[in-house]
Symmetry: C2
């Protein structure tokens, strides 16, 4: 487990550098708060909410405003660094944008797991011909019960 984490940390190090370059080349300033939000997003495996991020960083930045988190998430979204995942009642979740993938969501504990599957191009194509829309993208999620929650009945 430790090894796993260390290995991941090495990996994210590159991703952070890459993301910072992306920000710089988009004319976005690198501030300590912004860097921390970005870093947390890249290292997090939980598809965090804005409040998750806010709480995770309040130790390091006791004066940081929740508006800063939202502002930065919007900036990251605008330049394509992160994707916003919106669900029913609860708050949005944010996903650092690596490769395209879908999500499987546990209805019992709320866990969100990545799920790789070829893009549903046929569905998009048919929708175009049937509805006359010019299709730009689609969204799909799968809901169910995760292994942990199945065990606990």
């Amino acid at each position: 487990m430790h090894e796993h984490h260390d290995h991941e940390h090495d990996h994210t190090h590159d991703e952070i550098k890459e993301a910072v370059e992306h920000l710089k080349s988009s004319g976005v300033r690198i501030t300590p708060q912004r860097h921390a939000v970005l870093e947390y997003l890249i290292e997090a495996e939980i598809h965090p909410t804005a409040d998750d991020i806010y709480k995770a960083l309040e130790g390091k930045f006791p004066n940081m405003s929740v508006a800063t988190v939202y502002n930065n998430l919007r900036v990251f979204k605008d330049i394509g660094l992160v994707k916003e995942l919106t669900y029913g009642d609860a708050s949005s979740r944010f996903d650092y944008n690596t490769t395209k993938h879908y999500h499987v969501i546990c209805e019992s504990c709320g866990k969100i797991v990545d799920f790789h599957y070829p893009s549903l191009d046929e569905v998009e194509a048919l929708a175009e011909t049937v509805t006359g829309f010019e299709v730009s993208h689609h969204r799909m999620e799968i809901y169910g019960t995760c292994p942990d929650c199945k065990e606990k009945h």
Copy 2:
């Protein structure tokens, strides 16, 4: 256009009766407000928000509370009469539950159009084997620009 509407009204008449039976057999009382919300949902073609319904009925029920609309929508949802469609920032939309179908959404004007396509069972099956989840259902929507909005550039 008139003929079209009259024809549809005949059709919805049966659906309303059917839905009322469903409510009765579920032990849910039929009140005038509840009936009006149900009727509006069945006749509406726009996947209305709670506020759409509230506004549409305020002529007939000047004293109706917005809480009543929400309460009834919850009741309808609980017994499976309607489905709640949740999108990002905006408010939920409600769909009278006829047959299973997907939706195509215009990113320009917000229009939501029904789209019939065979259920993505293969995707669900693969998700089960890959993630170990017990899958219950999925959701999919397609986004793009509707014909009307394409015309207006």
